[in-house]
């Protein structure tokens, strides 16, 4: 801190001169690209996945997918932009973040040995059979979750704020 004292003649009152920037240091911001449609609550998870070195599945995800699913995920990570004749996009880290958030709400998915897939849009997806051996598909977009339930003949997408509701719907089909 740069101090300069000034004595006013006769009063012996020291005046301390302080530079503005010593009181208000320049703010530094992380240059974190955040997609405009991404809810703020997901940002910590997205930051964790941002760097290639941190692009790994959580322990819960690995337990749910098993060795086969983990191997498939590791393979999907290697696909470059343009896989499948120029049409495929690289795996989306934001999709993985949404996937991680979803499976934490419905850990019993593990009992149904879901398979992991990758779409041309770069989204990861789960496919599994419900208790009646009918198909359920859940695709994790960066800003929504798209699902198909064969037993209900239902196909829809929901916003990230409604993930809990979707988890409840899927849970009922598995019980």
């Amino acid at each position: 801190m740069n101090l300069q004292t000034t004595f006013q003649q006769g009063l012996h009152i020291p005046l301390i001169r302080i530079k503005y920037e010593d009181c208000f240091p320049r703010m530094r911001y992380r240059q974190t690209p955040i997609p405009t449609q991404q809810p703020v609550e997901l940002i910590p998870q997205i930051d964790e996945l941002r760097s290639k070195e941190n692009f790994v599945l959580s322990r819960e995800a690995i337990l749910m997918l098993g060795e086969n699913g983990k191997n498939r995920f590791d393979e999907f990570k290697r696909y470059p932009k343009g896989w499948f004749g120029g049409k495929g996009r690289e795996i989306s880290k934001y999709s993985v973040a949404v996937f991680e958030r979803f499976i934490k709400k419905i850990p019993e998915l593990k009992l149904f040995s879901p398979s992991l897939f990758l779409t041309l849009e770069g989204n990861i997806a789960l496919g599994l059979d419900d208790k009646n051996k009918q198909n359920i598909e859940i695709e994790f977009h960066p800003d929504k979750v798209e699902y198909y339930v064969e037993s209900l003949d239902e196909e829809a997408s929901i916003g990230l704020a409604d993930i809990f509701e979707l988890a409840g719907k899927i849970r009922k089909l598995l019980q």
Binding site: E75, F76, Y79, G85, F117, L120, G127, D153, E155
Partner: protein, 133 residues
């Protein structure tokens, strides 16, 4: 100018990427047929083994993953499935030959997850370039 349609008597083949067929669990994903402008190939123009050679050359190069098989369906049956689906769709399979694949055709309409799953259940699957499942 509209492209000529493939006859309903013909059978077509769709290449299946490893990202959409978990071979270990034998589970398939709707991406096999979901979306628009789906590329297929006509078995009346090229044989199964010739088409697999083309698929492998165009779509199956490391690290892009692998073509683990193909699904075959009759065009007439495909159109019938789409017409009878919950949301009816008038599917057309249009001839769209390419320099690298003279048997190439396209389905321009947008196929939903649900319809794709129904189509997949009717496919005859071929693993690799040899045996069918």
């Amino acid at each position: 100018m509209p492209r000529p349609e493939v006859s309903p008597e013909e059978n077509i083949l769709r290449a299946i990427h490893s990202a959409w067929w978990d071979v270990q669990t034998d589970r398939k994903y709707s991406s096999i047929f979901k979306g628009e402008n789906i590329s297929v190939s006509r078995l009346s123009v090229l044989s199964l083994s010739e088409l697999f050679s083309i698929f492998r050359a165009d779509l199956d190069t490391s690290p892009n993953g692998a073509i683990v098989g193909a699904g075959e369906i009759n065009v007439g049956r495909l159109r019938e499935i789409a017409r009878n689906h919950t949301v009816q769709l008038d599917l057309r399979v249009e001839k769209a030959p390419l320099p690298e694949n003279s048997a190439h055709a396209e389905i321009p309409q947008k196929i939903s997850k649900g319809l794709a799953n129904t189509i997949i259940r009717e496919l005859l699957f071929h693993r690799g370039a040899i045996a069918s499942i």
